[in-house]
Symmetry: C2
Subunit: 234 residues, 2 copies
Amino acid sequence: MMQLYNMGSMKVHEVARGLWEQEPSLTLGCKRLRPLAPKLPTDSVTALDLKSFIRPQSGPRKLPSTTTNKDSPLQLQVRAGGSRWNPTQEQIGILEMLYRGGMRTPNAQQIEHITAQLGKYGKIEGKNVFYWFQNHKARERQKHKRNLHPTTTPPNSLITTITLDTPVQVQGKVIFMERQEDGKPLRKKCCSNWGLFAKESRWLCQEEEQHTTLELFPLHPEIKPRSEGVSLSH
Amino acid sequence: MMQLYNMGSMKVHEVARGLWEQEPSLTLGCKRLRPLAPKLPTDSVTALDLKSFIRPQSGPRKLPSTTTNKDSPLQLQVRAGGSRWNPTQEQIGILEMLYRGGMRTPNAQQIEHITAQLGKYGKIEGKNVFYWFQNHKARERQKHKRNLHPTTTPPNSLITTITLDTPVQVQGKVIFMERQEDGKPLRKKCCSNWGLFAKESRWLCQEEEQHTTLELFPLHPEIKPRSEGVSLSH
DNA sequence: GCAAATTAATGATTTATTCAAG
DNA sequence: CTTGAATAAATCATTAATTTGC
């Protein structure tokens, strides 16, 4: 296990070079990529499942690209073709039962077992199970917090009225406003956790304007606003 | 791979039960643990390395204990006997070279390869490589930030003195205080990025008190405080 | 009703924080 | 005090649902 490549007495720098040679040939102009290097043999049968357990074999969300760092504007956002896990009702049912039963962070053996069982109801990998518990735990915790701190105003009731060139009201999650040309009423949904706050006291409702930047304020006290404004597209 | 246990046409509740039966027999009084169930056969040779890749087979730091949740005072802190990775100079050298070369989050195949190479210089697992890059990246970033925004006050110098029943000073990362009963000086480590701020103007320093909740404030201006106080255990 | 647009939900990753071995 | 290990929080990205505007 693990010693797939017997490179004998390689020196340190050769080890490093060998690793770069494994990079996918992206032709990004990165000086360290060596796409011409021969593909390393993947003769190990067992190692593949190993890789897919947590680190997906479909490659990282952001291609490593190894020479472009955080600050680089190059940063490609590529996700390999494979789509994400789409759980079936049965799978969710079992997972929720396990969760209600008290399971939070299953260990590797448990994950393995769960995966094997859930595999009967649809395609699934170990990492999906792992992530499901992580996310479910975190989101249940969020929900719980939300319940402790009730919303500042009751939902679906009038929150506030913003005085603008175009009449706008924020009611629950829905923004009521009128189209400027003909006065026809329009409704816009708003992100559930956020109220609206106009940066300047106007609202441009013209078609040619792609985005209007608005300040948002949290409906729930525990939600902290981002540093910059959020843009809503019309 | 993955289908180690052929349970045929199990029903959902049987799947769930089967999973509990895999729990280690902790005898914590958890009603759902079923220590009497027969150990499942581990006839798979390859699955073991799979488990150890990220999720260590030695078990999570906190035993899952499946029925004790966050709020439970039971929370055992057990780390399985195996000691942690102790990297050799050669290993660190190679890893640092790779890091300087631009590698940040190696994918599974890279990890596999690195592990194989570093294995020549000492015992090492894939997860060690994974964690090393995670930690090194995070700590380099910290160092970098620290350099951009010099601390509000120079490190290792007195930051502030909080007037409390018990004399307390915050000096660098360390809190100096005196034990209430005998006045014996105590030092408490503090999270590196946070100063201390007493919620109420007192500090209970008795051994029988398990936790003292304190408000923290950021030492660096760019760090945003959480919504609630953070508890430091004595 | 339906296609396009938008939102909410949630799967997948990354980053921050904490703990504790050595 | 350093740093390996682990967990929690934050964030990103994709898909299912819902709404919109004919």
